[in-house]
């Protein structure tokens, strides 16, 4: 449930239908309009949503048989003063709200595993590929990326050292090394090493907040929820606005 059209460069037109139950196009409530009849059919905003009530509403409006239309010329400027604690809280809260939505819109308990899929259309959209979808005793959504592999490796190496299984520990540390190279290397610019390191740290902090939010929110809702840490950044800032 994380496809946000404001991060996609769609032309005006109908939003594509959801490819899976989990990831659905949605409009954030800072810039959205509803036909009153659609709101009446969908039944208002879900007051149990901690965050993501906008995602939930777009899903329900679509499921009630209505189309979602993207209008790129209907622009809203959003003024936010981003601080590091603010960024942490924002991503934590996004993650925290997702497990409820996941459970709400999935008809029965399943284990779903997702991977990142680079978008082929050239748009800015995040797309994910479901690589496993099986009935399961409880709700579980696991995203597998380099960030998750890095932490899985760390966890396994600690366990292996603790149990005295050195071969396992070395293999786990190898996983940590490879994942770290993939995770941090993907955004590394050798012309600006210091800046790259700084930005990688910020990216790691945002992903950590997002993942932690998903795990904690999941515990509360009885869902094993490993967040899809492949979000795209917001589209424009003052600098780009001035440049246009």
């Amino acid at each position: 449930m994380i496809i946000d059209i404001t991060k996609c460069e769609y032309q005006p037109g109908y939003m594509p239908p959801s490819e899976s139950g989990l990831f659905h196009p949605f409009f954030p409530t800072a810039n959205v309009a509803f036909r009153r009849s659609a709101l009446e059919r969908a039944g208002g905003f879900d007051t149990r949503c901690a965050t993501g009530e906008d995602v939930d509403m777009s899903v329900r409006v679509a499921r009630a048989g209505f189309e979602l239309w993207h209008q790129p010329d209907a622009r809203v400027v959003h003024y936010d003063r981003q601080t590091l604690p603010g960024m942490w809280l924002q991503w934590f809260n996004y993650g925290f709200g997702h497990p409820y939505l996941y459970r709400k819109h999935l008809d029965r308990a399943r284990l779903q595993v997702y991977r990142y899929r680079p978008d082929q259309s050239g748009s800015d959209c995040v797309t994910l590929r479901c690589v496993l979808d099986i009935p399961f005793p409880f709700y579980a959504m696991v995203f597998l990326g380099s960030f998750q592999a890095l932490h899985l490796g760390l966890l396994m190496s600690v366990l292996c050292f603790w149990m005295g299984w050195m071969h396992g520990a070395i293999a786990s540390l190898a996983l940590v090394g490879v994942s770290a190279v993939v995770y941090f290397g993907a955004r590394f610019d050798f012309r600006e090493p210091l800046r790259s390191i700084g930005m990688s740290i910020l990216r790691y902090i945002a992903h950590a907040a997002y993942s932690l939010g998903g795990l904690v929110g999941g515990l509360r809702r009885g869902v094993l929820f490993v967040e899809a840490t492949c979000w795209r950044p917001r589209k424009n800032t003052a600098g780009e606005e001035a440049a246009r």
């Binding site: 036909r35 208002g44 007051t47 795209r232």
Partner: protein
């Protein structure tokens, strides 16, 4: 503007703008000011006060003559509660939402309402959010770097 003539031929769809606010009269005034400068004036602007502890009297006074303003309050703190209050208190065929820290561009209402005329099956219309932060702040520079990297990926 022949396209507009077709689009806005009868029956006209009325538009209500709903803004939820909590303790931010200054930014709300900026948002309401933007609504006074729309190419298509909204039929109604509903401000939902979500249990604020600061006074909105100055802002409400200032815009009462300029906008078809309606003030509602929702004591239950939470965005979904307040937005539902806004839906109940508004009467337009189309309900537009924005936030108190946002500024809609002048053609916003017109562009948001326009698609609803072309197809009765359209239930929701959304547009881009352009974030304006302090470009020198660490977090803004980070988001800018991520966008740059995303562009390189393609």
């Amino acid at each position: 503007m022949s396209a507009d003539e077709t689009i806005f031929s009868e029956p006209r769809l009325t538009a209500s703008v709903v803004i939820v606010t909590r303790n931010r009269p200054g930014p709300l005034a900026r948002a309401l000011d933007a609504l006074t400068r729309q190419t298509l004036a909204p039929d109604e602007v509903v401000v939902v006060d979500n249990n604020s502890t600061v006074s909105y009297a100055n802002v409400i006074d200032r815009f009462t003559g300029q906008l078809p303003l309606k003030v509602a309050s929702e004591a239950e703190v939470g965005i979904p509660f307040a937005r539902n209050r806004g839906i109940r208190e508004s009467s337009g065929d189309i309900v537009l939402f924005t936030d108190d820290d946002c500024v809609p561009e002048p053609q916003w209402v017109e562009e948001m309402v326009r698609p609803f005329y072309r197809d009765p099956h359209i239930g929701a219309v959304g547009g881009p959010l352009i974030s304006v932060g302090d470009p020198d702040s660490l977090v803004e520079r980070f988001y800018a770097a991520e966008r740059e990297a995303a562009r390189r990926d393609h």
